[in-house]
Each structure stands twice: as structure tokens, then as C-alpha cells.
């Protein structure tokens, strides 16, 4: 007990000592704040149409300008943070859950279970994932929930392989044998001994996965097959940016910056967790 707390503290210390990781974490915290209370950042309502002030460049009243319907871009970007962050989390949650179950079953039981599951993974990996996502959306229609679910359902294969590999090596270790010797059943071995030890690589994969999911959602929304207007998402604000590319650079610049900074934050944090969990990999 004491020892594991010590390991946790050591991990946290290594994590925070890396300045880039801390910066990534700070960015993510900031956007969490934005998503939690977007009203703090802009007094305008995100969907309030103002015909008189269409496509106004940044000013004191509208720090990031207005869009083609006169809506405040800052307000829309702030409310869009909710969408992007929640899509990232739910999608990755789904992917992690499936990947974890498939990986644990495959690695722990081996044999035909492993063969069937891994061939299925191989097959899924043959589809260009963006093609797969687009196809499914074409049939079930675009909505926030559908996007989250589809990104999750098409993103678990890497995690499954990762967890399988970890499980394969873990189940040969002495502490698993010791657990067996004490009469622990499969379920107890899996949940108490194997699962906790796969958490570090899963955490890394999840953090990087959130970044990927945010990018995918924004691309889908940008193409008009993701989050549907008037609900603001960083991707669909950029659609308006493209439509008004010759007059309104601010519509294109700011939502994209929000995506860039957020994704960068998650990537830095993910790399930091990896280094902290396994210091040998540092700087690689």
C-alpha cells in the first residue's frame, strides 16, 4: 500500500517536472474552464443572430469578430469547446472500453478466442478509418451522439492490440502465479492483477486518442457531416470560414487555433505521461 502510494507520488513528480507536459496540462485545464463556463469569456449568446453586424472584423465588442449571421465568434468558439471536449471524451471512453475488453480477453485466454478477435482487429484495420466513419454517418445521419459513438467504434483496435500485448507478458509474471497459487479465479486475476498493470499505457493511448477524436470531429463538422449548425463546434465554424474565405480571415483563424492548441495540449500531456511512466523512453 505504502509502496504504491510512493510510486504514485514519484510518477506525479516526474510528470510535473517536465515543463512541456505541465504546459499541455494547463492548456487542457483552461479549455475545461471554457467548456464549463463559456459565459465567462463572452457576454454574447452563441446563437444570437445580428443582421446589422455581419462579418465584422475583431473589435472591442466582438474580440474575434462576427460570422456570416452576425453571431459573436468568441462566444461560438467558447461554446464549441463543450462539443469538442465532450466528443473527445465520450468517443475515447467507448474506444477504451471495447479495446480493453477485447485486449484482455484475447491476451488472457489466447487460443481460438485470441485468433478470432485478432483477425477481426486485422480486418477492421484494413478500412481507412475516415472512410468507415463517413460511410456509417451517411446511413445513420450526423448528430453529436452518432459522431461520438462512431469515432469510438472505429478507434478501439489499437488499444485492443496494446492491451493484448501487455496482458500476454503480464500473465507470465510471478505475481500472477502467486495469485493463482492462492486460489484466485480468472476474474480476480484479470481485474486485480492484470488490469491495473495495463493502466499506464492505456492512459497514454487515451490521452493521445482524445486529441485524435477532436481532430476527427472537427474535420467531420467542417465537411458538414458532423455537429450540425446552429450548435457551434470548432469544425463547423470553420465551414463558414471557408465560405467567406475572401472576406473574413478571422472566421478561419480563431476556431482552428483553438483546435490546434487543444490537440497540442493533449499530445504533450500524453507524451509526458509516457515518459513519466517509463523514464527509459524519455526524449524518444
Amino acid at each position: 500500500m505504502n509502496e504504491s502510494a510512493g510510486i504514485g507520488r514519484d510518477f506525479a513528480r516526474r510528470l510535473l517536472r517536465n515543463r512541456l507536459t505541465a504546459a499541455g496540462g494547463a492548456v487542457i485545464l483552461f479549455f475545461f474552464l471554457v467548456a464549463a463556463i463559456p459565459g465567462l469569456f463572452s457576454s454574447h449568446a452563441p446563437n444570437r443572430i445580428d443582421i446589422v453586424n455581419i462579418l465584422r472584423p475583431p473589435s472591442t465588442d466582438h474580440p474575434l469578430g462576427t460570422d456570416d449571421l452576425g453571431r459573436d465568434v468568441l462566444a461560438r468558439v467558447a461554446y464549441g469547446a463543450r462539443i469538442s471536449l465532450s466528443v473527445g471524451f465520450v468517443a475515447v471512453g467507448i474506444a477504451m472500453l471495447i479495446g480493453l475488453v477485447v485486449g484482455l480477453l484475447s491476451g488472457f485466454y489466447g487460443g481460438s478466442v485470441d485468433a478470432v478477435l485478432m483477425r477481426f482487429v486485422d480486418m477492421m484495420l484494413c478500412f481507412p478509418s475516415f472512410f468507415l466513419i463517413l460511410s456509417v454517418i451517411a446511413f445513420i445521419g450526423p448528430s453529436i451522439w452518432n459522431i461520438m459513438i462512431i469515432i469510438g467504434l472505429t478507434g478501439w483496435m489499437g488499444v485492443a492490440r496494446l492491451v493484448r500485448a501487455e496482458t500476454l507478458s503480464l500473465k507470465e509474471r510471478d505475481f500472477v502465479a502467486a495469485g493463482r497459487a492462492q486460489g484466485a479465479g480468472n476474474a480476480r486475476i484479470i481485474f486485480r492483477h492484470v488490469l491495473p498493470n495495463t493502466l499506464a499505457p492505456i492512459l497514454v493511448a487515451a490521452t493521445l486518442g482524445v486529441a485524435g477524436a477532436i481532430l476527427t470531429e472537427s474535420a467531420l463538422s467542417f465537411l458538414g457531416i458532423g455537429v450540425q449548425p446552429p450548435t457551434p463546434s470548432w469544425g463547423n465554424i470553420l465551414t463558414a470560414g471557408k465560405d467567406n474565405i475572401e472576406y473574413a480571415w478571422w472566421l478561419s483563424l480563431f476556431p482552428g487555433l483553438a483546435i490546434l492548441v487543444t490537440v497540442l495540449g493533449y499530445n504533450l500531456l500524453g507524451e509526458g505521461i509516457r515518459d513519466a511512466a517509463d523514464p527509459r523512453l524519455k526524449g524518444r
Binding site: 483477425r119 477481426f120 486485422d122 480486418m123 477492421m124 484495420l125 484494413c126 478500412f127 481507412p128 478509418s129 475516415f130 472512410f131 468507415l132 463517413l134 460511410s135 456509417v136 454517418i137 451517411a138 446511413f139 445513420i140 445521419g141 486529441a211 481532430l215 472537427s218 474535420a219 467542417f222 465537411l223 458538414g224 457531416i225 469544425g235 470553420l238 470560414g241 471557408k242 474565405i245 475572401e246 480571415w249 478561419s252 483563424l253 476556431p255 482552428g256 483546435i259 490546434l260 492548441v261 490537440v263 497540442l264 499530445n267 504533450l268 526524449g283 524518444r284
Partner: protein, 324 residues
Amino acid sequence: MLRYVLRRLLLTIPLLVGISLVSFLMMHMAPGGPIGAGTDMNPKATAESRARLQAYYGLDQPLHIQYGRWLGRLATLDFGDSFSPDGRPVAEKIKERIPITLTINVLSMGLIFLVAIPVGIYSAVRRGSVFDRISTVAVFTGFAIPTFWLALLLMILFGVKLGWLPISGISSMDYDNLGTLGRIADRGKHLLLPVLLAGFTGLAGMSRYMRSNMLEVIRQDYIATARAKGLPEGTVVFRHAMRNALLPVITILGLSVPDLLGGSVIFETIFSIPGMGQLFYQGVMSRDYPLIMGILTIGAVLTLLGNLLADVGYALADPRIRQG
């Protein structure tokens, strides 16, 4: 070697069957039905004409019979006719779109190799230098930049503000009147941004990958031996280290196929390039089932082919693989 290739080929057969089954089932498990979008919005579509459509596409048959028929036609590259008003065969539509998509992707792959490999090697050799730090920052930014956003910014800069490059299509209005050189220049101008953007994420990924490979190899004993022999640093880096660090890159080349294909949907739509990605996007928007199934299948087969080439290439380059 031949045995290895044959074994590898045999392994792809069950995968191919699996791919066709998954893409087929996926399309049919979705609610709405294949004739939903085309007929729902058309007030003239009677129940009778719907039923005719249903029969025409065999949608009234049980799923396994539909699949059997589809698989049979698939073997002859017959994906059926498009649901779109022109009703042309899907295979024909895809065939005329594929060259431009492949051209852009091959060019961007070339770009990735020309830029990323030297950058990765130099970063690794001069680890911790200013160059290494700058390239690391650039790589992280490259991973995080949404490609479509970068496309917008470059369009604003080079297309709108500076007016240097066209921002849509693959040729100018007066293309037919240009001489050969003029045509090449015109095509080049139109393809410059798309190729750059198609390769952008890969550029970041590949240089990072090359860097870590190189760092791994440099730590090996035989490099220390080469240095101890008194070989010049250039020989050590290029003769001894680089060759081995390049090996896994072959694999990455094959594995990058699905990402490049997926990306082509985005940049072809942005730049109005009449390639397979744009065709797919249009198919998705109009729920053109046969077209979506066709492109999805072709995308998967291309991916499989990429993996196969990667494995075979690797085996050719590294005797340990083909014998072990």
C-alpha cells in the same frame, strides 16, 4: 522468398472476404434503407416506383443472397450502378477518379521521404541541438494542426492575399489553349497546395519516426565498433546507421495508405479536386449505397495491398524476416 510472398498472399484471402462482409453488412444494418434519400425527397416517387427500385437492386431478397450476388460481382470488379441520376456503373466512376487521387498521394509520399528522412536523421545525430529542438516543436505542431484548417490558411495567404496560386480545381479555364510546358506549369500550380497538405501529417510522423529509429540504432554496439575503428563520422552515420534505421520506414510507407486515402476526402473536397475522395464525399452526401460500398471496398483493398507491399519490401531488404 517466393514462399514467403505466397504465404503472405494466402493470408490476405480471408481478410478480403472479411472486408467484403463487413462493408456489406454495415451498409445494410443501417436504418433508412438504400432508397431512402433518393425517393423520400421526391414527391413524385410513388410506392410502386419504390418497389421497382427495391426489386431492381435486389433489396427484396434475403441478405445472404444479396451478399452472394454482390460478392460474385465484386470478383469481376462490378460494383453495380450508382444511385445518382446518371446511373452509371460505380466501377467506371471510380476508375476515372482514381488516377488523380493516386497521383497526389504518390507525390506527397515522395515529399514526405525527401523532407522527413533527412530531418529525422539530422535531428537524431545532433540530438538536443537548436535544429533538433525546432524540428521537434514543428513535429508536435504538425501532429496537432487540422489539415483542413491549414488548407484554409494557405488558401487565404497564397490564393486570396498574394494571389499566387489557384484555390480550386486541377486546371485553369484556359488549360486547353496552353502549350505542353504551360499545361505542366498550370497543373503544378493547382497541385502544389494539395500535395503539400496531403503529406503534412505524414511529414511530421515520418521525421519523428526516423529520428527515434536513428537514435535506437546509434546506441547499438556495432556503431560503437565502427567509431572505435576510427571511421569518419559521415561513414558511420550514412553507411552503418542510416541503412538500418531506414528499414522500418518501408513498413510505415505501406501503413500510411489508409491515412492518405482518408485525407484525400478532406483536401479533395476543399480544393474541388475531382478525385476518389471527392466522389466518396458526394456519395456519402447523397447516400449512394453502391458507390459507398465500392469505394469503401477499394479503399480497404488498397490498404491491404499497402500492407502486403510493406511486408514484402521489408522481407526483401532484411533477410532476417524472410528466413525467420
